[in-house]
């Protein structure tokens, strides 16, 4: 771009959007930054929603992403509680639900993703968990002491909610049509270990079975499984993935395909970039088009994309190693890298039996990932090997050293 960017609109007031604004101010960008958020709340941290917040231990203030004085110091042009409804790519102007139009030299799209629903009518007792308001509603239902909570979908959100509900002393059934929990993130073998951890903590875990209907019209009374059996419950939590929020961009001319499709520097069009859960870009390191829903990526990509939009020179392609963590009971699960079904796996420290171990994954004599259960140190050490594109043999040798 020829003219320097003097103003920027960030659409999405969560982790990626906020960290983008912060990084710009840190780099002495003193132009206007407009921040648009669909939710009425100031930016807050989502990971605690399924854990400490849902346990009733932390309140809203505790999960704020920015102290009030630090947030004020960013001097943002703030538009909260109103969603973006359209983008004029050529003009870089964003129209809002409340009728306002915000025009800038550049636009950062960070509208995130929303919880996928079951496709049945909403009713009291039926929950998803994505936003603060979702968490407030679910926490109230858990606090009321239901006889049983049914979790539909044993992914990370479902597994974390199951752990929190058990810690609150509630009976929990968790259902998933796959053969292991968290199978997309962890694979079958590790997923089954995590499933055993849940069973050891009293979760009635049912795999290889789906849900065909939710019972109760005024309020949830149970679920029907697709093997014909029925489970009575007062609360259902659906955790079956997330859908990127791109509907507002339809007709804008941007390429939308399971996210906003960007180039390898997160640019979707001249002066327009995307970051966080909504962005899909070719990650050079892995040679594939990626959309990453991890917390850490929202920070990295938000920061990167902001720089991409305002810097005079094009930065190196955005090619991070995905990393995430999940806390369930007293186990900390972490995975770094990009594993696929069929990768070789090797335990490099601890043992599955003691529920404290590190495992590495490899393919074509390359290290592809590292998993840790209560082994953060090992995960970070192997993450560095991933960054160095270590071979499988080198990784094994490191593990034995």
């Amino acid at each position: 771009m020829s003219a320097p960017v003097r103003s920027l609109t960030i659409v999405g007031a969560s982790l990626a959007g906020l960290r983008a604004a912060e990084s710009l101010r840190r780099s002495e960008f003193d132009g206007r930054i407009s921040l648009i958020g669909a939710e009425p709340h100031l930016p807050y941290d989502r990971p605690p929603l399924s854990k400490q917040f849902l346990a009733g231990e932390w309140d809203h203030e505790r999960i704020s992403l920015s102290a009030p004085d630090k947030f004020d110091a960013l001097e943002l042009d703030l538009h909260l509680g109103t969603r973006a409804t359209g983008l004029d790519v050529a003009e870089r102007s964003v129209t809002l639900e409340n009728g306002t139009t915000v025009s800038s030299d550049a636009v950062l799209i960070a509208t995130g993703a929303r919880a996928r629903k079951l496709g049945v009518a909403d009713r009291p007792g039926l929950h998803v968990l994505r936003t603060l308001d979702d968490a407030i509603g679910l926490e109230a239902d858990l606090a009321a002491g239901p006889n049983r909570v049914v979790i539909v979908g044993a992914g990370f959100i479902g597994a974390e909610v199951a752990a929190t509900a058990r810690q609150r002393g509630l009976e929990v059934t968790m259902i998933d049509p796959a053969e292991a929990p968290m199978i997309r993130g962890l694979g079958v073998e590790i997923g089954l270990v995590c499933g055993e951890v849940h069973r050891e903590h009293g979760v009635d875990l049912r795999l290889n079975v789906g849900v065909s209907d939710i019972l109760g019209s005024d309020r949830v009374t149970g679920v029907i499984l697709d093997d014909g059996s029925t489970i009575e419950c007062e609360v259902v939590v659906v955790g079956i993935g997330a859908i990127p929020n791109t509907e507002w961009l339809e007709g804008s001319g941007l390429e939308l395909d399971n996210g906003v499709v960007c180039d390898q520097t997160c640019l979707a069009a001249p002066g327009i970039a995307a970051a966080g859960d909504v962005a899909r870009w070719p990650n050079q390191r892995f040679g594939e088009l990626m959309r990453v829903e991890h917390w850490d990526n929202a920070i990295d990509q938000g920061t990167y994309a902001a720089k991409r939009l305002v810097a005079a020179e094009t930065p190196e392609p955005f090619a991070p190693i995905p990393w995430f963590w999940s806390d369930q009971y007293d186990r900390k699960i972490q995975l770094a890298g990009r594993t696929k079904p069929g990768d070789e796996m090797m335990i490099v420290d601890g043992s599955i039996e003691e529920r404290r171990f590190a495992a590495i994954f490899g393919r074509d004599n390359k290290l592809t990932g590292v998993f840790g259960m209560n082994r953060p140190r090992h995960v970070m050490q192997f993450r560095r090997l991933l960054a160095d594109e270590a071979s499988w043999d080198e990784a094994i040798a490191f593990g034995q050293s």
Partner: protein, 75 residues
């Protein structure tokens, strides 16, 4: 950042720290998560040259458990 000539101190709120070890990845000469899963601060007063790296670790901590405190300059 203000007061760059004076030193600074790394403080960790261990009530918040969950030993995700991100800080160790970014600044291994300052932070270490050991075999007991606890974080140890190897150097509470890193050099001015290390400050940018340590600040990166501060901002990337999943629990926002690390902070830097500027030390009053001597004399």
């Amino acid at each position: 950042m203000s007061n760059e000539s004076a030193g600074y101190k790394v403080e960790v709120n261990f009530d918040l720290c969950e030993s995700n070890a991100i800080c160790m990845d970014i600044a291994p000469e300052v932070f270490e998560v050991r075999d007991d899963d606890f974080l140890y601060v190897l150097n509470e007063t890193p050099s001015a040259e290390q400050r940018a790296t340590v600040e990166d670790a501060v901002s990337r901590c999943p629990k926002q458990a690390i902070s830097l405190v500027d030390l009053p300059s001597e004399g």
